[in-house]
Symmetry: C2
Subunit: 176 residues, 2 copies
Amino acid sequence: MNILELLKIHGKETKHRKGEHVFKQGELSKFLYFIHSGLLKAYYMSADGKEYVKSFITAGNSICSLTSAFAGKDCSFSLVCLEDSSLTRIPFSVLVEYGDKFHQVSRQVNDMLLEFSMKKEKREYQFLCLSAEQRYRVLMEEQPEILKQVTQIDIAGYLGITPVALSRIKKRTTVG
Amino acid sequence: MNILELLKIHGKETKHRKGEHVFKQGELSKFLYFIHSGLLKAYYMSADGKEYVKSFITAGNSICSLTSAFAGKDCSFSLVCLEDSSLTRIPFSVLVEYGDKFHQVSRQVNDMLLEFSMKKEKREYQFLCLSAEQRYRVLMEEQPEILKQVTQIDIAGYLGITPVALSRIKKRTTVG
DNA sequence: CTATCGCATTAACTTGGGTTAAGAGTTGTG
DNA sequence: CACAACTCTTAACCCAAGTTAATGCGATAG
């Protein structure tokens, strides 16, 4: 038994149009989502209505709200489709349950968590050690496709700055 | 078999004086460290000699360099003792090996990774959505002991600002 | 075709943080 | 004790980014 087989048995495929939410901040969502196609945005919304982009999720990747799926609390962020998208979701509890019975499932969950942890650590590093301009350069090098698919509003939200500041950075970096 | 027992068999206890490094950026360190007593600092050093504090590690917690222990690369950060400290280290490979044989070990590793992931996600949130001043307030509320034990230089390094900026924030928040 | 809406750019002004440097405690050590 | 090393604060100045607002440019709807 492995995760691929679990997905066939317990997974449910869903399709979403551009603009649709998969889940919203404040709700519960005890699923792990695998993205087959499309593009999604995970984002926080502050009390005063400002949006902060946690991550973009592309085909081949997965996402879940750990605080909801694992810790049982409300989702701290929302997940919305920036393009028409196709996903398969599986209850987190199924992974836990089968993880107890089958080594390989447990091992695969472990690997996913390790990958996830390293990704988060990398982003932490970028916020801690790099300037907004440096973060933009890294994004340009590592995920140039994202820059083409997404508005500057969302890119700015991902970098932790305003669209105005991003426009200035672009001007600086292309001219300079 | 569980991690506590594994620590008794394969763990090695070490004591370190204030100022000593447990491992340094650029080295390999394929261990997971459990802190019994003391206080440690994980930090990045940039090419131009600037220090950025990744985290403070207190008694009862654990730390490892995922990129070194799991991915086999060099450590991207250093680990140094801010106080005399006592740790137990265990090779990451032992956890992997026994994780394959014993469910409970695998489950415990899973739980540790989940805790770690949620911690990182929280820090990501703070950098993305909060100002330096707000991050300082959160630190004051959630880990007031740290503020007493650590220099402002390190606090500032943890918040992603300079000691001068931290001093200004303190003035603003105590007067205002 | 035109009106509207959302996106990107630019300007003007404000603000928070970086940089440098000086001065006032503290701590530690010979 | 005296000196050195370090920490913290404060001031002065600079720059990056936030804010607000105006403009131009598609795309889409009517």
